[in-house]
Subunit: 212 residues, 2 copies
DNA sequence: GACTGTGAAGCCATTCACAGCT
DNA sequence: AGCTGTGAATGGCTTCACAGTC
């Protein structure tokens, strides 16, 4: 077991394994093999074992893994046992949808505030989450100790919002705006570009010519 | 120039280059070098050239690339010149947001219909896009010749919706439900898991211990 | 007998470095 | 002189295959 340089692909898969294990646990399944996990998530048994091996030895030879136990390990590896607080900037369609997205809460994320500069929205709540003016960003982030910010504003404001988030003390940013933004080295940044995902699909369709 | 096996990472980057070139074109910039593209999107010049080299020779030695020309090439490579029609299943928060998302239209995608089984929503429109009962899926897909379907329903219905989409003749599916679904080999599938993206951030935070 | 954990091999993507044009 | 296009080298991820353990 070594630590540094774990492939990002491994992290993505761990996240998927964890979701799957949570399902199995709910069904009351106690033990599982790497082969069954692979089957359940669409991967290979060796890959599953290798992914886990980066972090320790969680299984029993000849038997497999304890579902709940393994899931707890992965949850800890992913840092999900810390109860992260999230702020979202942008209360438009996408920002509103993300604020109310149940999948975040299920995985231990709590959206504590949304920010917008539309005076008609300020003071309202989305599913109990208050909408603040963007001028309150720093204050709320400090007070709530939010460490993650989500950018859901139009592209042209994205860099500006990112700067505000960083200045407010956020340590990780998930950017939904389709633009390249830059943040200091000590802040984690990930981009989710919704159109890019469609474009990958059309590339593959165009390549294979299997449409129509 | 060879064709088969282009890395997916290359496609993602081409998509980003194209967005960047579109911006430059709007600003009236005519020529650009691989180094400048790299700078603009956060990559390396060699990577830019290698990505483009999979598909042909688009530049001029000693000079660089013509912005508009290169962008047209990439748009064609990605298959975006075909005017794809998209249907979205699920008119909840996320489905509604995606339906009204401007970034899709800007890249040549047209959302032609949304489907839901909530009788209160059926007949309404979202930004001009009609909401149909899910029973009309096949009919509308055929009539509109939609080739792409987006799944924005809760996990437990995702596989069912995927089956319906396939059966209706859709050739590519973008799945926003956090569950593993399977489709026939001739249908393209991509998953966008919103929570996974946050989990990668928390993993990195937990690893570096640079939060708080 | 079954399944994990892991070094080694194989494969794929990125980076380097330079020849080839303009 | 400057920048592209590309074979060669490097680095990283995945798959293989088997020793180790229950």
């Amino acid at each position: 077991m070594k630590t540094l340089k774990i492939p990002e692909a491994t992290i993505i898969r761990l996240s998927v394994y964890s979701r799957y294990l949570t399902q199995l646990d709910k069904k009351g399944i106690v033990n599982i093999s790497s082969g069954e996990i692979a089957e359940g998530v669409g991967g290979s048994p060796a890959q599953v074992r290798k992914d886990l091996a980066y972090f320790g030895e969680f299984g029993t030879r000849g038997v497999g893994y304890n579902v709940r136990d393994l899931n707890q390990h992965i949850i800890r590896i992913l840092g999900l046992n810390k109860g992260w607080k999230v702020v979202i900037v942008g209360a438009g369609n996408l920002g509103s949808a993300l604020t109310q997205y149940k999948g975040f809460r299920e995985r231990g994320f709590e959206v504590v505030a949304v920010f917008d500069n539309d005076v008609n929205k300020i003071g309202l709540t989305l599913n109990g989450v208050p909408i603040f003016p963007i001028t309150k960003l720093r204050e709320v982030v400090k007070e709530q100790e939010a460490r993650i910010g989500i950018i859901a504003v139009p592209s042209k404001y994205a860099q500006d919002v990112a700067d505000h988030l960083v200045e407010s003390g956020v340590k990780a940013i998930l950017n939904f705006a389709p633009s390249v933004i830059s943040v200091p080295e000590n802040v984690e940044l990930r981009n989710v570009d919704l159109a890019v995902n469609l474009e990958i699909l059309t590339f593959n369709l165009a390549l294979k010519k299997n449409y129509d």
